[in-house]
């Protein structure tokens, strides 16, 4: 179920890499979304994330191969201060909430606001209403979230890491929307630019609370 991996033959044309960060309240399913996207797996008892986790995945569009460098951050508010080090320099962000929990939606909105203010101006933001499989416990209206996304120019999908619904789709939609000539680099081999992938300001407080 994992997104198609790029084949090595260069028939695909150009290769772009993008740094993508996942943000959102704890336990909304950020790690689960990444795990589904990258490995096609789902763990009911996905352990909580401390600090941040890093994974990569490549998707193929019509004429380009997009390599995502994904930073999956810790959701606990206490780790908030770490977030800038991950979203600074990111070309894309997925802000995740849990459709069965209204508070997580409110938290998602604050993340969007913070990104709009402090992340790079061209950042592509997607809003993911996760745990869509739990429709009978829904607390956040699809329409409400869709309207909010519309207003703020966000990509929006309701996803389920459990059933894989819209997981690849949301990443693909982001890949489509990313500008292929400026943000991503067009290089023969997908190699990492340290200055980009390494969270800038690594010296900045790792766990400070402000």
């Amino acid at each position: 179920m994992a997104a198609q991996r790029a084949t090595n033959n260069a028939a695909q044309g150009k290769i772009c890499q993008f740094k993508l960060v996942l943000l959102g309240e704890s336990a909304v399913g950020k790690s689960s979304l990444v795990l589904r996207f990258v490995k096609g797996q789902f763990h009911e008892y996905q352990e909580s994330t401390i600090g941040a986790a890093f994974l990569t995945q490549t998707v193929c569009l019509q004429d380009t191969t997009v390599k995502f460098e994904i930073w999956d951050t810790a959701g606990q508010e206490r780790y908030h201060s770490l977030a800038p080090m991950y979203y600074r320099g990111a070309q894309a962000a997925i802000v995740v909430y849990d459709i069965t929990n209204q508070d997580t939606f409110a938290r998602a909105k604050t993340w969007v606001r913070e990104l709009q203010r402090q992340a790079s101006p061209n950042i592509v933001i997607a809003l993911a209403g996760n745990k869509a499989d739990l429709a009978n416990k829904r607390m956040v209206d699809h329409e409400e979230a869709a309207a909010y996304s519309e207003e703020n120019g966000l990509l929006f999908m309701e996803t389920s890491a459990k059933t894989a619904m819209h997981v690849n789709e949301i990443f693909l939609a982001i890949a489509e929307k990313l500008p292929k000539n400026e943000g991503g680099t067009n290089r023969p081999r997908p190699e990492v630019d340290i200055t980009q992938s390494n969270p800038p300001g690594g010296s900045k407080g790792c766990c400070s609370s402000h």
């Binding site: 704890s26 336990a27 600090g51």
Partner: protein, 874 residues
């Protein structure tokens, strides 16, 4: 008191009869839950077998002379539960059946059994339990004629029967009000009063030496019981019952006092029945009620001394605690599953195929196999293997009764202690010896504290790990009292975070995934948060806490206190609301330590920007509890607990070194990917390596400003690597706190002047605390590289110093040559505290792959007032 608690665990070293003590196992199947269902939190519904497992743990800690012990609970696939318990061959049922063979005063037998039953019930009641399965078959009689209640846990572990499909207990002994409710599946009414009724029926059968309604079918029995509700008084209930015995006994046959007792139990109205404790107060019957405490106290101190050569009749098996017996039973090759299911009861596999399976996993058309039906039968576990193996222990009393204070051969080591840990843990004879030894050491805690440390350095037996760790962590005092008074209930802000973290924490472990475990984990976390108001909940604390809860599952106070001490020692202030200064310093010191032991790896990682901040926070914040599975954590911590507060840093270096080849070949992405799925790490190797690393690190090099500087543990001279620079007294030559920004400027470890003096034996300060110096042979070769200008050097230098002036271009090269010849373990670069050329110089050495590089903190200046500098002879 903590010490008393340890004693308590051994208070009931069971008295095992020659041929009566056994381990028995009962098994049943819990109700399956639908595969496609989710709980309220969106997680899959916990299997009922796992719920049972969680509920059951509490029973393991119950101890009373009239209650059988539960030893262990296991679950397998297919929702099956195995309950291992103490077992005796004689039941009350057998006794009644074969009453002719008992040549005893039946009246006193009745009194004795009644007393035992009520004492047992009263104890269960105190523990908040209901027996619910009381019948002659579930009452055992030990060879000392002591009645013991068995099977009492079913009601509790099945959550009142709701986790199994079938009704539990024998209806014949159920109270009428209970029978009434059985069909409405309303089990909430089962309470101690129905147990009192059941015990009266049992006693009545005992008095009559025969069974009530023996030839009646279930339906008749039920209607007979229901008819009893029409009786107006307990007396008439008793009359009716008595008339129902086949032998046509009469009420008058029963002594007046016994009749009173039965009447107080058989009232049709539950409220009117007496409580077990009240019944026991009836001096007319139980006049000889002696204080059973006195006996316990006696057994507390009655340590079996070694039998004299002449009366060699050691019965090792009798001296084992049942928990130990069970553990050793498994080590001796015991196989629970095959012992319980002997092959002839299994269903042919064809009959285990369902008719169809839905794509959601629902199974249909499966016949109930006899194995799935509820059956209170207890299988006796075969003891031949363990008995035979233990018989050899008789030949070697040292093994079973190890002496703690032995002047002659103090360090006589057990041959097995050299073998790999896994082999040791599964070696029967070795474990017999270790268990016996640690049992004694724990009884002597805290007085035998030092000996406990010494033995723990060899290994720690699985069975006693919780208590041994508590001992190593210096847990003392009335922990229970303290824990009891901590507010664990008031809602707090961290609650939501804890609530979402706990169901994700070490859930591959069956016990930890049970609802009971979740509650415990939450309680202990909340207790810790409440008692440490300046600290707060960080994700990851759950993983840490889970280790202690799992280990002390039936002892939350010890789990709580062990965790508190652990955090104070290893994670001091890590859980402050703003912990960035603490973590940052920790990571910088860690990076320096990596450069000290593996300069090439360190250079590579710095080059690609793979900094500890990106991978090591979960390591240290949870002391690896978030990154490894439990079975690895316990082995790692067995050693960690013996080290000082800097030891975890060495573990970090050891882990890096284990994957160093991969890291050296990898770019940033690959490196970080490697650590997001930590590869198979061999913990045994990490442990060995980290000890080596520790012993080769000058202790001042791991100095941290934010470490805890006063230790709450008594000074131990026992463990050479438990000595801690962070808690040693400071003087003008010690490392001084410097701002974090300055610390980050450093390229490698720092060494303090006092440490240097000790290592080079310059100052003649003999009470060296450097681990590496403790034994003469391990004293590391040390190179002192003085990089100042030759004229400065000529004016006074450290006696062992060699001058390689920084300004000269050839210096580094010739210095490397010098180092190559000398092969020192520690290379101290000495410069000026103002120019700090020692930094670039050291970093060149690192790039060249020189191990053991550090700079002298404070430069040469710090040594000037001490007067140990000499004019070097050229």
């Amino acid at each position: 008191m903590f010490r008393t608690k340890i004693l308590l665990c051994y208070r009931y070293v069971s008295k095992i009869g020659m041929d009566t003590v056994r381990l028995g196992c009962m098994t049943f199947v819990t109700t399956a839950v639908p595969h496609d269902k989710c709980g309220s939190n969106g997680l899959p519904v916990t299997p009922n077998s796992v719920k049972v497992l969680g509920l059951a743990q509490e029973l393991i800690s119950l101890r009373h002379e009239n209650v059988c012990r539960y030893i262990d609970f296991k679950t397998t696939k297919h929702n099956r539960i195995f309950a291992v318990s103490e077992y005796y061959t004689t039941t009350l049922h057998k006794m009644i059946k074969n009453h002719e063979t008992f040549h005893r005063d039946w009246n006193s037998v009745c009194v004795n059994v009644s007393m035992g039953v009520f004492k047992g019930l009263s104890y269960l009641h105190e523990q908040g339990l209901v027996h619910h399965c009381l019948e002659p078959k579930s009452i055992y009689i030990t060879k000392e004629d002591n009645p013991k209640l068995g099977n009492f846990g079913l009601h509790h572990i099945t959550d009142g029967g709701s986790l199994v499909d079938c009704p539990i207990g024998n209806p014949k002994y159920h109270a009428p009000e209970h029978v009434l409710h059985i069909y409405s599946k309303d089990l909430a009414i089962a309470n101690i009063k129905s147990d009192v009724w059941s015990s009266a029926i049992v006693i009545l059968e005992l008095i009559n030496k025969s069974f009530l309604w023996e030839d009646k079918g279930l339906q008749t029995i039920v209607s007979k019981i229901l008819e009893l509700t029409s009786c107006q008084s307990a007396q008439s209930v008793l009359e009716v019952l008595q008339a129902n015995f086949q032998k046509q006994s009469f009420l008058d046959d029963i002594s007046q006092s016994m009749r009173c007792l039965l009447e107080s139990c058989l009232s049709p109205i539950p409220e009117n029945r007496l409580m077990p404790a009240e019944i026991l107060n009836d001096k007319n019957i139980f006049k000889t009620t002696q204080n059973d405490n006195s006996e316990n106290i006696k057994s507390l101190f009655s340590f079996k001394s070694l039998p004299a050569e002449t009366d060699m009749q050691i019965q090792p098996i009798e001296d084992l605690d049942l928990q130990e017996l069970w553990h050793l039973w498994k080590l001796a090759g015991g196989d629970l599953l095959s012992s319980v299911f002997n092959s002839d009861t299994t269903t042919p596999s064809v009959r285990m195929l369902p008719f169809f399976i839905t794509n959601l996993g629902g199974v249909h058309g499966l016949q109930y196999s006899p194995e799935d039906l509820f059956d209170a039968h207890i299988t006796v576990l075969p003891m031949e293997a363990i008995e035979n193996r233990l018989a050899t222990a008789v030949d070697n009393p040292d093994m079973f009764y190890p002496l703690l204070e032995n002047k002659t051969n103090v360090d006589k080591e057990h041959a097995t202690s050299k073998l790999p840990l896994l082999i040791r843990e599964n070696d029967f004879e070795y474990q017999v010896y270790r268990l016996a030894l640690f049992r004694r050491l724990l009884i002597g805690y805290p007085y035998l504290h030092d000996l406990l440390w010494k033995e723990a350095r060899i290994d720690i037996p699985v069975l006693l790990r919780g208590l041994i760790w508590a001992g190593l962590l210096n847990v003392q005092g009335d922990v229970e009292e303290e824990y009891m008074h901590i507010d664990k209930d008031t809602p707090k802000l961290a609650d939501r975070q804890i609530a979402v973290d706990v169901p994700r924490c070490h859930q591959y472990n069956a016990i930890l995934s049970s609802p009971v475990a979740h509650e415990k984990l939450k309680r202990v976390l909340k207790a810790w948060l409440f008692s440490h108001p300046h600290l707060s909940y960080w994700q990851g604390l759950d993983s840490l806490c889970a280790v202690f809860v799992h280990l002390n599952f039936n002892d939350e106070p010890t789990a709580y206190k062990s965790m508190s001490h652990f955090i104070d020692k290893y994670l001091y202030n890590f859980f402050l609301k703003d912990n960035s200064a603490i973590i940052q310093e920790y990571l910088v010191v860690f990076a320096h330590l990596v450069s000290f032991h593996d300069p090439l790896l360190s250079c590579h990682m710095n080059e690609i920007g793979f900094i500890p901040d990106l991978y090591a926070i979960p390591w240290f914040l949870t002391m690896f509890a978030h990154v490894f599975p439990l079975h690895k954590i316990v082995h790692l911590w067995d050693t960690l607990l013996l080290g000082n507060s800097s030891f975890p840093l060495c573990i970090g270096v050891a882990i890096l070194q284990q994957v160093r080849e991969q890291l050296l070949l990898s770019d940033f992405n690959e490196c970080i990917l490697l650590f997001s799925d930590l590869p198979e790490v061999n913990i045994d190797n990490v442990v060995q390596k980290s000890i080596q690393i520790f012993c080769h690190t000058p202790k001042s090099s791991t100095f941290r400003v934010h470490a805890q500087h006063e230790s709450n543990s008594q000074q131990r001279t026992m463990s050479y690597y438990s000595d801690d620079y962070n808690v040693s007294p400071q003087n003008e030559l010690s490392l001084k706190p410097i701002p974090l920004a300055d610390l980050k400027e450093e390229v490698c470890c720092r060494i303090s002047a006092d440490d240097l003096i000790q290592l080079t034996e310059l100052g003649g300060i003999v009470n060296s605390k450097t681990p590496a110096k403790n034994s003469k042979s391990v004293k590391p070769r040390i190179a002192v590289i003085d990089i100042r200008q030759p004229d400065e050097f000529a004016h006074g230098a450290i006696p062992e110093g060699k001058n390689f002036p920084y300004s000269s271009s050839k210096s580094v090269e010739s210095c490397l040559q010098y180092i190559n010849q000398l092969k020192p373990k520690v290379v101290v670069v000495v410069g000026n505290c103002t120019s700090r050329f020692d930094r670039p110089f050291a970093s060149k050495l690192l790039k060249a792959g020189t191990k053991g590089v550090c700079v002298l903190f404070g430069g040469i200046e710090i040594l000037k007032p001490v007067g140990i500098l000499t004019i070097p002879s050229l």
